[in-house]
Amino acid sequence: MTLLEVKGVTLRFGGLVALDDVSFAVEPGELVGLIGPNGAGKTTLFNAINGVYPITSGTIAFQGMRIDGSPSHAVARLGVARTHQVVRPLADLTVRENVTVGACFGREGLGLDAARAASVEALDIVGLASKRDELAAKLNVSQKKRLELARALAAHPHLLLADEVLAGLNANEVAEMLGVFRTVREQQVGIVMIEHLMHAVMNVSDRVVVLDHGAKIAEGSPQQISSDPKVIEAYLGDPKVAERFMAEAR
């Protein structure tokens, strides 16, 4: 069964069309890269999927069930987990408590003891186990990014919405994180990944969806996308980015 099916989703904020008739689907175990220039509506699309913003029209179905209109906690319980682009740790709680929240109230709704165990596991996966008793506020940015990911993974979701998890990480850390994504995907978890690091997106994605001004302008394999003139044009607003994009994608 299709894991996530977004059909004709439009989202308006007053006169501003943030999402314009967007459709795409994700299968279990598939990694979809979501790219587009700044302000294209990528994060907004995540917010629409997990119920933070109500959509204006269209439908969103998760495992065949309509989830548009559901509050975000209900969507989370069905098995949709996400990370935030701007990290949002629960500052006054420890790293482990942060992750335990994800395990307690996510898809599996684990009891506290089982959730603690799941949180240690998730912290191990992202390489943050040694920091588990620190307050989340004390982590640096790259650690907070990992915390976001651990919190999402601890819920053992069916679908992971990863919003710029790689930004600000060094080359080693990026490689490690991509390893995490591969492991997660092997467990039949679908992943949608917003990312500006083109080589990363092109390397790990099964499929790439391109947004520009709220509309989907292209979708296809990384090879197709990197040679699609519409995509290159969308990035041409910033020639440097276009150049880098083309170079990195090769």
Partner: protein
């Protein structure tokens, strides 16, 4: 529940029970009066901490549940000669029901707006009761002395009130601890830190907050029932006294917001300070001034309060004291 195997909870409750038994054994009436008041303040502060410390919703009008509880219980005892313990339980349930009804709309408000709404509710309740004839209106209600005969005379009625207050204080602390160490408590703390993130992680904030509010309303109502039973008189002014609400807030801040031990320490220290000041002739009119000053110092310099400060500072404290 692993939380109940705590090395902190049982010694703490045991210690408090021992302290509570002291004036009963030595038959020291004035000490019993002091402890009675401290236990009442512990109940107010500790229950306030559940909504304010764990969930992050600062309530200035927490005293409304004390007043409502006092009134409901007093009316039951006065009209139907209901036994104190039954009347107190009924009062607790009524207070929780009121919290359930007003909780859903006001807990949507954030920050200062919630705090203001709680003051409004307390003032509204006060004027409602002042104009409500079955509760005696502005004059209130008072017992005929013979009411205490059913409890074996005024002396043993006072003793019953004392024991009841101590037991309710223990129950409040127990509840506070269990919440803090539970999945429910984790949800509350996640909401306190960032409600939107909590929601994305699967926490239903509306439900968790109303539950916390309902629980936090129950205990002050019991305290109100017992307190006014012992006084033998209830009036709108003392029942819904905003000042006492603010004092409870100071106790929570002073002892350590969001900790289990904090409100206990805060209540004891605050009451000790207040009674010391009030019995020192030169300072007797300054106790509120000093309370305000204390709050300022805590908010500015030791935001974590006494217990919070010690927990931050010493690993051993953090390991044992919640």
């Amino acid at each position: 529940m692993t939380a109940l195997r705590s090395r902190f909870l049982w010694p703490l409750l045991g210690l408090i029970a021992l302290v509570a038994a002291l004036p009963l054994v030595t038959n020291a009436a004035s000490q019993r009066e002091d402890f009675f008041l401290i236990f009442m303040l512990v109940i107010l502060a500790s229950s306030l901490n559940i909504i304010m410390g764990y969930s992050g919703y600062v309530s200035f009008g927490h005293i409304v549940f004390f007043g409502m509880g006092g009134y409901v219980a007093f009316w039951l005892m006065f009209t139907f000669q209901t036994h104190l313990l039954v009347a107190a339980l009924a009062a607790g349930l009524v207070a929780s029901a009121i919290a359930f009804l007003i909780g859903a709309p006001i807990l949507r408000l954030r920050g200062a707006y919630f705090a203001l709404a709680t003051i409004g509710i307390n003032e509204a309740m006060k004027s409602l009761v002042t104009n409500f004839e079955p509760f005696g209106g502005a004059v209130g209600m008072f017992f005929n002395f013979s009411v205490y005969d059913a409890y074996g005379g005024a002396r043993s009625a006072a003793q019953l009130a004392y024991v009841a207050m101590a037991v309710v204080a223990l129950a409040t602390i127990f509840t506070s601890f269990v919440i803090k160490k539970s999945k429910f408590g984790l949800a509350l703390m996640a909401i306190r830190e960032d409600q939107d993130v909590a929601m994305v992680l699967g926490v239903d904030p509306a439900r968790a907050k109303v539950q916390a509010y309902v629980i936090s309303a129950f205990f002050p109502a019991l305290a109100g029932a017992i307190f006014f039973f012992k006084s033998g008189i209830i009036e709108p002014g003392p029942a819904f006294e905003l000042l006492r609400s603010i004092e409870a807030l100071v106790m929570v801040m002073l002892g350590g917001i969001g900790t289990v031990a904090g409100p206990i320490v805060g209540a004891a220290v605050y009451e000790w300070l207040r009674s010391t000041l009030i019995t020192t002739p030169a300072l007797s009119s300054f106790h509120l001034f000093i309370a305000g000053l204390l709050l300022l110092v805590v908010v500015l310099f030791v935001t974590a309060g006494l217990v919070g400060f010690l927990r931050h500072r010493f690993l051993a404290v953090r390991r044992y004291v919640e």
